[in-house]
Structure formats: C-alpha cells, structure tokens
Symmetry: D3
Subunit: 266 residues, 6 copies
C-alpha cells in the first residue's frame, strides 16, 4: 500500500474501506467546528480553523479517533468575543444553517456506523448551536445508540501557574458578560499561532488594543466604536512561540483527557 | 378612563391606541425571554419567567418602556446550567423555533413603529439565539433604523462586596466551562424567589446538591449521573428573602443602567 | 410544604417533582393558544390571552389537568375577524413559527410522559395551524400513544336562549365568509372582560362600530377602509358584567364537557 | 396563428409572448387552490380540483384574467370538513409546504409583472394558509405594488331562496364548529359534479351518511368513528344536475362579482 | 357504475374506494414532475406538463399504475436548458419548496399503502431535487418498505437510427455543459407537440434561434444576451407531427420498459 | 512582514485588512464546492476536495481572485455518478442544508464588498443546488450589484485529441442518463490524483470495475447491486501521473478562461 500519508487519521486522507475498518473496530470520529473570522491585523482569518484542526489532530494522537474535515465556517462573530460582523473577511453562517450542517454531518457519521462522535469548537460563538445539532440527532434520553460529546471550550479551566504567569504576567484580560474573556486575537491566540504557524503571523503588526466600550450587552446594528477598530480585543504584544508552546501542551492535554475519559477509558 | 390598571406599562394591559401613543413619543419596548425549566424540588418551573418578567418591569420603572408579554418558553435546558432536558416539566423550544419566535416579535415591534427594542434574558441557554433573532431582523450595519439591545446576562458582573458576602459567604459556586456558574436553583435564585414570590418556594425542600460530575463538556444523550438528580446545581440552603432583596436591588439597578445608557441618555 | 399557591394546577407554579407525580397518575395537560391583538379602544391587547388562560383554568377545575403557560403570541390577525395586521400593538407570529412553537411544546409534553394533551384557542386565526402542530407530532393514525385534543372554538355552538337574548337582543352580528362572526371586541368579548377583568376595560370608550366593507374575501396589502378604524367589528355598547357572567358560565361548561368527554369519562 | 385553442385564457395554453402582452395591458391572474381529497364512494378525488378550476375559468369569462394551472394538492383534509387524513387517495401537503408553494407562485406572478392576483380556494382547509402566502409576499401595508385578493370561500353567503329550497328542501346540514358546514361530498357538491362532470359521478353510489360524532373539537390521531366511514359528511341523495346548475350559476356569479369589484371596476 | 371515464387510471378520476382497491392489489403510482416554462413563441407554457402527463399515462397503459395529478410547477428554469427566469410566464418553485412538495406527495402515497412509486420528470432542472425528495422519505438503505423510482430523463439514451435521422438530419444540437442538450423548444419538442397537441402549436411562429453565448457556466443575475431572446434554444423549423410520432413511440416505450423492469417483472 | 506564506491568495491566510484591500481594488473571490465521497479502494475520500481546491488555486494564478476555504461537504452522492449514499465515509449534506451554506457564504462575500463571485464545483451532484444558492442571493434580474458565476462543470467540453487519446485510448466511458459520464474514481480522476497528490493514491489497488446495472433511472432505497461494490464506476487501471498532468493543464486552462472571460477581460 506504499508509504503512509501524513496524518492517516484524517477522513479526507482515508479510503472508504479504511473507514469501514475503523467503524468495525469501534473507532471514534471527531469534527472541529471553527470559523473564518478576523483576528486583528497580525493573525490570519483562518486562525480558529488552523488551531481547531490541529488541536483535534494532536489530541487524537494515540487514540483511535478519525478526524473529519474541519468546518471552517462557523456561527456569526460577535463584537465582544470576536469583533463582530462588520469586518470584511469574517465569513459566517446563520444559526439555522450552522445547526443543519453540523446535524447533517453527525447523521452521516451515524450512518457510517460510528458510535463515538466528538465535536470540538475553537470559536466561542458556536456554543449552544453545536449542542443543538447533536441534540437534534440523538436526543436527550439514552437508548444504547451512538453518543455525541460536545466540547464547546477545549481550553483547561485554568492553566498551570507557570503558564498562567508566562502568558498573563499582568493578569488575564477581563471577562465580558456573559462570561467571555476578551481574549480574541490577543496574547494567547497570538502565542499559539507563533508556535503552530509562525509563517502566518505578521509579527510587526502585533499591537495592543482594546474595545472602546465593554458593556454588558450587545447592540444591533453594531454601532461604530462598539466593534474594536483593529479587531484585537486585548493586548497581543508580548506573545511568543514559547508561551504558545506552553499553553498548547496544556490545551492538547486537556482535550485528550476529556476524549479519553468518555470514549477510551477501560 | 377609570382607575389605572396594575402595571399599565405592560403591552397586554394597553389598548392599541395607547401603543400608538407610545410609539408616537418614541417609547421603547422590552421583551423578557425566559424559560419553563426545572428549578429543583423547592422552586417552581416558572422561576425564570417570574424573575425575568419582574426584572423587566422593575428596571423599566420610570423609563418610557413598554413591556411585552414575557416569552415563557426558552431554548433547551442544558445539564450543567439548568439540569438538562431529562426532567419532566422542563418545556423548551428547538433553537430554530426560538429564533423564529423572537425574530417575529421583533419584526412586529418594528411594524408598530418602535425604534428602541430591548431583549432581556433570564435563562443562560437563550444566549446567541436571541442575538441571532435580532441580527436576522436588523442586521449588523447601522442604517438609521430601529436598534435592538440584547441583554443576555442582566446580572451585574460583580455584586457589591456586602451582597457578595451575604449570598456567598463561602465563595461563589465554581464555574463550569464554558464559563457558566453552577448557580441554578441555588442560593441566589432561591433568595430572589423568597424575596419576590415567597408563596411559590417550598422552604422545607431547600437542599444542597451538586452534580456528580462537572466535566468540561456535554454528552448527548444525557447519561445518568450527568444530570444532577435533584435539579439543584449547587447549595440552596442558607437562602433568605433578605439576601434576595439585596441582590435584587443590584440586578434591577444594573439592568436599568444598561437600558438608560443606550436608550434614555440625554 | 406550607400554603398552596394560587392555582397549583398551573405548570409554572409546580415543581418538576409535582409534574412527575401528575404524569405518574395520568393527568392531562392543556395549553391555551391565544394572541396579543387589538381589541378596540376599550379592551386591552391581552384580551384573548386573559380570557383564554382563565377559560382553561376554569374548565380544568376539578379535572386532573395541568395548565401550561398560555401562548400569548398567536397567528396573524385578519381584518374581518380581528382587525388585521395594520394596528400597532397587535403582535403576531408567522404561520410557520406558530406551528413550530405549538409542535415543540406538544413534543415536550410527550417527553414528560403526558398522554392527554389539549389545545384550546381563544383566537380564531389560530385555526388549522394549531391542528397542524398536533398532526406533525402525533400523525393521523392511532397507535396507542398520546392523544391531542384540538379545540379551535371553545364557545358552545349556541348559547342558551336566555343568554342569547341577553347578549344579542337584536340578533347576533352577521357572519362574514368564510363563516366567522364579526364578534371581535364587541358586546360578547366586552361583557366577558367586564366579568373577568373589569379593571382592564375602558368603559367610557365602549363604542359601536362596523367595518366599512364586509366583503367575502381579503385583500393584501390591506387597503384603507378595509380594516375598521376603531378595531371594533360590531357594537360593544350594551356590554355588562352580568351578560359576561351568563356567557362565561356556558363557555366554561362547554369546554369542560369537551375535555371530560374525551379525557375524563369513565 | 390558426385556430384559438380551447380556453386561451389559461396560462398553460399561452406562449410567453402572450403573457407579456397580458402583463402589458394590466390583465390579472388567478390561481385555484384546491385538493386531492376523498369525496365519498360516488365522487372522484379530483372533485375540488375540477370544480375549483372550472369556477375560476367561468368567473373569469369576459374579464381580462389569466388562469394559472390549478394547484391540485391542498392542505390536509380534516375529519369534520373533508373526512380527514385516514382515507387512501387523499393526498395533501404539510402547512409549511402549502404556504411555500402558493407564496412562490405569487412571487413569480409578481416577477412577470402582474399587479392583480387572485387566489380562489375550493377546499375549506386551505383557509389562513393561502392568506399567509399572500401576506408573506406583499405584506399588510399598501405601497403601490401588486395586490392579492384572497377568496377562501367562493360560495355566496346565501343562495337565492329558490336554489336554497331546491338544494336543501329539509334545511342545510348542520354547522360543525368552528362554523364549517358538513357539506362535504353531499347534495351540493354532488349536484355540482352532476352538472359539470356527470361522467365522473357514480350515481348508483350516491348515499346518505353522517359522522357518528360531530363534536366541537378534533382529535389526533383520528380515532375510529371520528372519520365518517363512507366519506360522505351529510346526505348525497337527491342530488341532480339541475340543482347543480342552479347553484353553479350563483357561485360563478358571486365569484365574478368579487373579482370585478376589486380588479375590474371603472 | 356507468361508463368508464376517460383515463380511469388517473387518481383524480378515481374514488377513494378505487384507490383502496388499487393498494390492495399492490398497484404502483406515478407522478409526473414538470414545469410551467416558456417554450418559445410557438409552444405553450404547459409544454412540459402536457408531454410529461401524457407520457406517464401512455407508459402506464397496460400496467397496474395509478397516475397522480401532474405537478405543473417545477424547479427554476435555467438559461442554457430552458431559457431561464427572466421570461414572463415561466412560473417556478424555489428548490426547497419543490423538494417539500414532492416529498409530501410521496409521503402521502406511502400512507395510502403504495409500495411502488415512480417519479417521472419532463423538465431537466428537476434533476437531483426530485431525487432528494425521494431520499428524504425512504432513505438509502433497503428495509423492505416502499420503493421509489426516480426517472429524471425519460428519453432513451439514443433514438433509433431512423428517428435520429428524421429528427436531426443535420445532427443533434450541441451539448452545453454540464452535458445538457440545447434541445429546448426546438425540433424535437415541437414535433412532439405537433403530434400530441397540434391545437396548441403556433406553426407560423416555429423559428430557428440560438443563444448568443453557450458558455460552460451560468451567471446570476442573468445578463442580457445570455438568455436567448426568443426562448428557442436551437432550431424549431422542420418539426412535423410525423417526426413527433416516431420519437414519441420510442420515448413511451423506453419509459414503459424502465417501469416494467423494476416494478412489473415476474 | 517576513516571508510570503504559501498561497497568500487564500482567504484563510489573509488578514482582514488584506481582504479590505482586495475589495478596495475590486478583486474577485472564488469558492470550490466539493465533497467528502468514496472514490474506490485506491483514492481518498477527499479526492474532490483536493482537486477542487487546487483547481481554483491554479486557475486563479495571475488573476486578482481570493480563494475562500473549500467546502468539503457537498450534496449527497448518487449511485450512478459517485457510488451513492451506502458507502461508509461518504459524508454529505441534505439539499436544503447545502443550499443554505452556499447562500450564506455568498451573502457574506457580498457584505465584504466583493462584486465578482465564482463558485466552482468538483462534484457533479452539487449541480442546480449551488445555482439555487446564487439565485437566492442575487436573483435573476440585473441591477448593477454583485455577479455570481456558477461553474458546475469545470472540465473542458472536450479534451485535446492528444489528451483524449492518452486518457481514453479505448474511448470514454459510456454516458449514464441523464448525461453523466461514469467517470468516477476511474482513469481520469486517478491520473489527476497521481499528478497532484501521488502520496494519497494506493497504486496497488487501482482496479477496473463497473456497476452491475446502468439503468436510466435511480432507485431508493438503493438496492444491492445498484451501487458498484468497489466504488469504481469504470476502469482505473492505466492511470498515470503523465496523463493526469496533460488533463490537468487543460482543466486549469479552461477554468481560467471562463473566469477571465467574465470577470477579468478588458
């Protein structure tokens, strides 16, 4: 069969017979649900997609888990968590469309015969909607059929003290209600990208910025000044590949632990 | 015209001519989007609806704001924020239905001529979906038309130190990812209900409980032990009407400030 | 457990454990589907909601029937039965939304375990649409599962001669095709409200009015003169609380008989 | 151009250039919305479609009104007005589908340039849903654009005394709530078919029948005995082509008058 | 029972008892899915509907196959296969509506008890969408339930050499990508109509025409010059009833063979 | 800014400011709509996605055209063009979902300010549905707004004689009605993959296969024997990277010519 392609665990790289074999041995399947969203002047629009896809690949290493093609179109960006829908480039789906896409894909996994299905978000706004998709397919009441794990936040609740200190020497960015950290395109994501895809980071454009207002609500249409002009929701300065690597290791570890706990424990 | 009915600011109590007059003077209109959801063995299923409706009424006092009939059916309850969809009594809408209802109502407010529209949630799971409804109606880009304010979390980011100390003498309940406090049917909501609707609280059934597991993800179908059996997500013991009043005053004040800042500032 | 709250048969006032007990003993559940609709210069927009909700509560007295939160948003008002969608204040749902809401709620009742489900309209325009919602959930062919009763018209086909004479001394208002009486916001509804909620009736504004045209068809957009300007589709003068009480007793009795015949006969 | 085809006013028989010319001279366009529904053992499933299509053709005679292909699939049959959805042969659409079909067709008429659009039902269950379709396209508020006339009941409110006496010598069939006459597949429709399509009437199977129960509500699933077994909702005996002709003339006249009053008056 | 109506195999002409009998003996049912679409200056808008309906009737002759009312509203016309949506008269459905209509009808056939269901298109644009409708109802995996045959192209892959020579003495019209012959309203369809419905052909307007451009793609909005002005996508001159009859016999035969092979072979 | 990333024309690699600049200079944007579909035992499930994405990138070279993230989930595979929906691994969307996704993405491109939008399929089943999405957004009638180019078949109508001879020395595979070549996972696609992604081709499993039946219709559910067991719809043997390169050059050239003709001609 020749040489193993790079990352044979990816659905796109497998033949249907390899999928049939994976189903046969009760492998799981995971889907990253991400976004195409502005990430400031220094990070690419695919930041969520690159991180989310790599996260699922890395967390799946050593687990019998097929990785489906990452969904690079997510739910609409919101001003206080992603800059909002006034940026060119941010390309989002309506809520109803997003739910349908994820539900259709889960339904296909079920048709294939998979019984362990994981959804992993790297885009806060996908919250509830990816859950809804899973709910529409498998419902609330156990019946012995396939199970869907919904990971809306793959980050550990807390980083280790060393990582926390390295990434946020002056403390984490404040929490905007309802409880979303203003951590978009800032030091953490920038560090992760410097670790994972340094070729895509415009290091000379890593700025510190801040929304003019961080009120406890949203307004539609989005008024000027509500969306931070640069797209950076808190400081990106100080990001380094080293900090990224420290955080990455913990994020991957946390995600892998969640997958293992539910799907791959003895 | 006889005696003023109780709460003439409510749309249901007004005649169409009174609404026409309100529109004429550029009044606003507010809608509470809540739930019918289990709240443990001691609180009624209408807890969110009662609190949400009263919150909008109280916050609107003194503001020129009509209060529409509260939406008592919300988006699906989730295990780690409301106990989830395995409880009898919890009566929820699909995401697509919920979005449509809220969007239709906003569209009608726009047809009436209202230009200041506020949505206020008292049910965490309505997040994003109520935003989506507003987005579908008015879009992201300002054009001089009506504005919709989306308040997904009407609670202040922090209570005053006195209130904080009174309500949570041992510290707030932990945060379940993605960042939702396990505060459902617990001391805070119970205190609020003891203040607002003591007739509906079964004081003899105010228990402390806790989910067996608070993992960083969800599972569907919802396995046994994932949903806390009692429906109480953290301790309800120690709740009092006095604590409820303290918190209530701050919640109402915070919500009123948000409404004023955007719609009723000079 | 302390004092019984007012109307413990209401879902909103019950705990989930009380619902579980109701399901256990095979209680039924009823939902009033009403409207927020103009009712002339003298009646509030919540007229249908108040009457519909109270009707279900009263008809359910003595029956083992839980009463769900009334749906106060109904299908669009039509000119010849409710004044139509050009009045400010009238707040309606699209047909598709209305069907989805009612279907979702029925589905939740089924999930709770209820097997006797009643829908009761107090808004003519909900006709067919509430039926459709029930059809979508349980289908046409009996299979031993839950049953849904669809009461689109809770009024008796004929009032008793005494009531008929009292309410309509000069005869009932004419029937507009397709067979809907022009009885909106007129003597009957006004009398009912004077009986049930006199605090909400502007007695000094009870006028007689009449549509300019009562053609056998509708026109969209709604031309001027097609919608009666006042919102009163026939005379409201002569309404009294006494007439309201006479009619109310018969309406409640008729509705209770229907519920009993199907769900609570031996 | 050769001989004029039979019924050149029908859209299906016209070329696009003839339609362009009709639009140019501000002709109207009419659509019959009917059903494929059981009509007892003696009438064909196309009864509504044949009558509805012919009615629009006859009413349009002499008016500048194009007749679109009749929609032969209508909203679901209901037990007390059409026998309900347990009969084989009855072929109906979901409410949402029906609304979409009618709305799409109206939208196309608008694209063609028509400004006078008429919908004519011959199937009671299409009520509200065909109205909704028109509403979705043109909305409630006049703006100088195309107008849609919605004729849900093309029959005159009352027949002339002679016709009334001829068709119903013993009085009309009773009215089932909400106000729909039990006139399905009975003497009136049978007489109309004997007049219009005698080749399709099984005269030897014209029976009298009656639902076992005519309650003021519906039940789903439809219990046995709720749907009349024969499909005849009141007596069909006594039907004659002569009675049919008398009624037909008045029905056509009434429908034509409605069309003229709104679209073709000076 | 009197004289047999013309074409008793049509659902519209049958009573529900005749349908019940057909189901009982395991008859099939067929639905033509066609269009109302411009066919040049010489053919009527109903060309697809007339041919499609007659094709199903003729192919069904001698087979135990009920013919449902033809769906005369199809999916949107496209410029390079039907002239596109800029012609007045062309009356099409959205894709979602079309799928819903066909799915609803199939669902009803299933409810009747039919187990052999055939869909026959005479409108290229219905491709995939009619397939989707069948898929939504019966799914991909055999389970012993009803089967749906989807005939998107009822024409034989090749006509006999004699017919080919007669119809296309100079060769068939070119194929526009993706592989659709430019055969709309041209010699073949015109000949078929001269054979089947000569009363509806404007023989004096049978012209030869050709799109200005036949690119390998579509453009929206449809630019001028992209849609052929006359609506004839290739030559109509030379059409005769004799050629139509030759082709018709082969088309009917081919369709009947397909139906027999799957549903009526021993 | 450091080194230019590999393929800066991809939306995912750009910052929002780079997109804003592209819009400013009136660049176009292209989206490949592909599939995750079985391609026999020797080609990966991502075959359409890899080829489609690379095709758009290559065709866009030298044109001012941004390339959006490829849609790797397409409409359902059909037995006679892609093997159909009984293969594990094939992961498809419902028609309605697919239309919504593509329409949402186009709408976002329009919001960004793009005026030249191209959709390029590499999956035959996406036909009509991607057209519908574009139609829903921009409609049929030119109005000076953005234009959408819909390339459902990016292959040239005919290859050059040399390529034709090299790829199909024994002639092209037969055409299955309605006019789709049985060219799935066969010599052409295999050669293309050997040229583009040889690391993903299992050369030892390149077999010749053929559907048992190639009827002129489809059947649902898909019977055994209707779907070719291997997933190869015609011979894959004889595929070489050299043949792939010959065909690729012509496919890229043809697609580029189409894009240039419409969007980038002087």
């Amino acid at each position: 069969m020749g040489e193993k392609p790079p990352a044979m665990q990816e659905l796109q790289y497998m033949t249907w017979e390899q999928v049939a074999a994976a189903v046969e041995r009760d492998a799981g399947i995971a889907l990253a649900v991400t976004s195409t969203e502005q990430h400031g002047p220094h990070l690419p629009l695919g930041t969520d997609a690159f991180i989310g896809h790599q996260l699922v690949l890395s967390a799946a290493e050593g687990l019998d888990l097929v990785v489906a093609p990452t969904l690079a179109y997510g739910y609409r960006s919101r001003p206080l968590s992603g800059g909002g829908q006034r940026f060119p480039g941010t390309t989002s789906l309506r809520a109803t469309t997003f739910i349908s896409v994820v539900a259709d894909i889960i339904n296909e996994f079920v048709r294939h015969g998979f019984r362990k299905i994981a959804l992993v978000a790297h885009h806060m706004e996908n919250q509830h909607l990816m859950y809804e998709a899973a709910y529409e397919v498998v419902g609330p009441t156990p019946s012995g059929g396939p199970r869907v794990m919904v990971i809306e936040s793959p980050y550990p609740p807390e980083f280790s003290p060393e990582t926390q200190q390295a990434v946020y020497p002056d403390g984490a960015p404040p929490i905007a209600p309802p409880a979303i950290g203003l951590d978009h395109a800032s030091v953490l994501e920038t560090s992760l990208m410097l670790h994972l895809r340094p070729d895509l980071v415009h290091a000379d454009r890593m700025i510190d910025d801040w929304p003019e207002r961080v009120p406890g609500y949203d307004l539609l249409p989005i008024p000027d000044g509500f969306t931070v002009a640069s797209g950076v929701l808190s400081g990106a300065k100080g990001a380094t590949a080293e900090k990224g690597e420290m955080a990455w290791r913990e994020i991957v570890g946390h995600t892998r632990e969640m997958l293992k706990a539910e799907f791959f424990s003895a």
